[in-house]
Symmetry: C2
Subunit: 427 residues, 2 copies
Amino acid sequence: MLDETRDEGAVAAMMADVGRRAKAASRPLAIADAAQKRDALLGMADALVEATGEILAANALDMQNAGEGGMSASFRDRLVLDEERVRAMADGIRAIADLPDPVGEVIASWVRPNGLAIERVRTPLGVIGVIYESRPNVTADAGALCLKAGNAVILRGGSDSINSSTAIHACLVKGLTRAGLPADAIQIVPTTDRAAVGEMLKGLEGTIDVIVPRGGKSLVARVQAEARVPVFAHLEGICHVYVDASADLDMAKSIVVNAKMRRTSVCGAAETLLVDHKAAGTHLVPLVDALRQAGCEIRGSAAVVDMVPDIGRAVEADWSSEYNDAIISVMLVDGVAGAIDHIARYSSNHTEAVVAEDAQVVERFFNEVDSAILLHNASTQFADGGEFGMGAEIGIATGKMHARGPVGVEQLTSFKYRVRGSGQTRP
Amino acid sequence: MLDETRDEGAVAAMMADVGRRAKAASRPLAIADAAQKRDALLGMADALVEATGEILAANALDMQNAGEGGMSASFRDRLVLDEERVRAMADGIRAIADLPDPVGEVIASWVRPNGLAIERVRTPLGVIGVIYESRPNVTADAGALCLKAGNAVILRGGSDSINSSTAIHACLVKGLTRAGLPADAIQIVPTTDRAAVGEMLKGLEGTIDVIVPRGGKSLVARVQAEARVPVFAHLEGICHVYVDASADLDMAKSIVVNAKMRRTSVCGAAETLLVDHKAAGTHLVPLVDALRQAGCEIRGSAAVVDMVPDIGRAVEADWSSEYNDAIISVMLVDGVAGAIDHIARYSSNHTEAVVAEDAQVVERFFNEVDSAILLHNASTQFADGGEFGMGAEIGIATGKMHARGPVGVEQLTSFKYRVRGSGQTRP
């Protein structure tokens, strides 16, 4: 372990080696059969449970280094592990082990008039770089997901969790080697030097096929600004709920409260409530009251403030804020067209919901809003790979290239064409 | 039209405006119905035929500016237009008009145990930047393909073809406006200043969703090195044919000659012949003779030179050369494993063929070679969207992200999720 290496050349050389080893491991991994990968994953889960003591000791060291007294509650919650969390990590890996193996799946097949039989077949992407912050469980989740899809992975977690991540990583490697897969299939960056991230963003001499940033806004922004390799964009979730005049009010109340308050820290949490101005007299006050009763702070537009007593006034920045907290901005809009325009301007294209009984309103919202996930009469908090039935996910992609929405094992694959002939030449 | 603008700020401002207009056009375009896009495309085709005189006059000016006397035959062939080529462009657009509209297609749908009905639906990508060289017909092809998929497009052709491309572009705009679609849906960069390409590669203030480079190695290399937005990678085609000892010799001869010689300038042309050393005594000389009779120059490895008289010796650079000419490199390899290793080292991951009767050899080749297109007992020259039954294409992608292999209208789309509920909230 190199700590805070100051010599950039040394970091670059070390990271180039990490890249070469990942690339070398990716070839046998790409052709490993489903049973072998499953064995490796089950072995990782067992190893995690067996090593619970070591993992918790490493985590205690991280907590101590971070200065337990001074850290915020949310930071502490991200970093801290206990026996139950280690067991949850192991269970998560077992669930990934039991997913269908995506590699080799025939996605489409057809025969040409000249007899050529064409198949489009899923393949691994190759080498994935995952850059994340201080949640040690991402080490296990991301390592397992990438492996299931036949990819080698280079994990770069936050320096605050380096001891926890290293202990978890050792368990992943045990699972790999016990199943006869290369240890280099899952590597953890062996330094906390930030220059290592820069090297990953440059692609490690062409060895990294895609970077997945998983973390807060500033991490994702740095990755998107600096990366010279493809990135699965994971922007923040500035999610909207639009309540149409045709909405059932009780349904709207329960959806809005759930979308905002079930968990305020998830990317699928709603940040802005848009209410049809035609329903201002009937729906606005009850919706705001329901949110307030649930403990939510309200920041209204001028028109909303005029109609609802005792709420704060939203400023321009509120419409593009991901609060990660029990705060919501509220605006009256001119029907579904007004909602569509507001969302086009302020959304991060993650998830938006429409609550309406008018089918034409729903159709228009579904056609014209350009976000990864659109929901009708359901909470935005369903924006989750597990809830979609896609299994574990590495995040929700807000870009439009390759993966959009939940990024699970299927989204961590590419494909190739296999064409079978009987001597065909092209005229 | 600004020519050779020297003020970089002016180019940046002009290009930012191009980007904003494309972005603005992309919204109505994304929700335009299939019939309207089809009308626009048919209108473009008619306008091209009607304007044949103007287009040929503009092309004559380009030819004159390029100095007709001094240009190479291949450059001339790329740049020159005649009545038949204009008609072919129009016919190409009509064929695109008749393709199924990809936008709104439900790619997958399923229902969750809680009753949420999930659909994955094709959407446009948004704004596509196409950077190409001196083939004026790309203006028509790329403009029409992007429009069919509901995308706005910014076209940047080579400066040598600027007058031809501008005349063709005017016809595309006629088709758009006659059908009631925004003229800005297909824009041509209004300057030949190379700084405009740099601005496009920076993404025009976030307005460009993806860049498609279409041209030679140096153009693609510049785009890949400088682009700050996603790129559909189109590397050169260093395509291989592997002839196994189990191959039918006559079939192998006809496939090898076709793969190399049918058209030597296409990206699917073979550049290297790999022959199983177990078949050196039976297959090597007849294969080389067939190629020589077809007019091909042979560059052999040391072992090949020892066995075949009167051929040149390949140097290291030959194994990674796209000749675009009647030249082939030939090597003996240690069976399919040797072929796989050679291809992993030298291929551009475009297209490779195996000629073999042994099913295990084919299976191994199909599993272990990581290129976009793999063919068994068929010519590499089938690497083409039309031959795949996918309609017109903008190129063959060699990257693994989003699009791989032929990039047709479907590959120029993204998708979103539409989820229909009845009041579901997440527990």
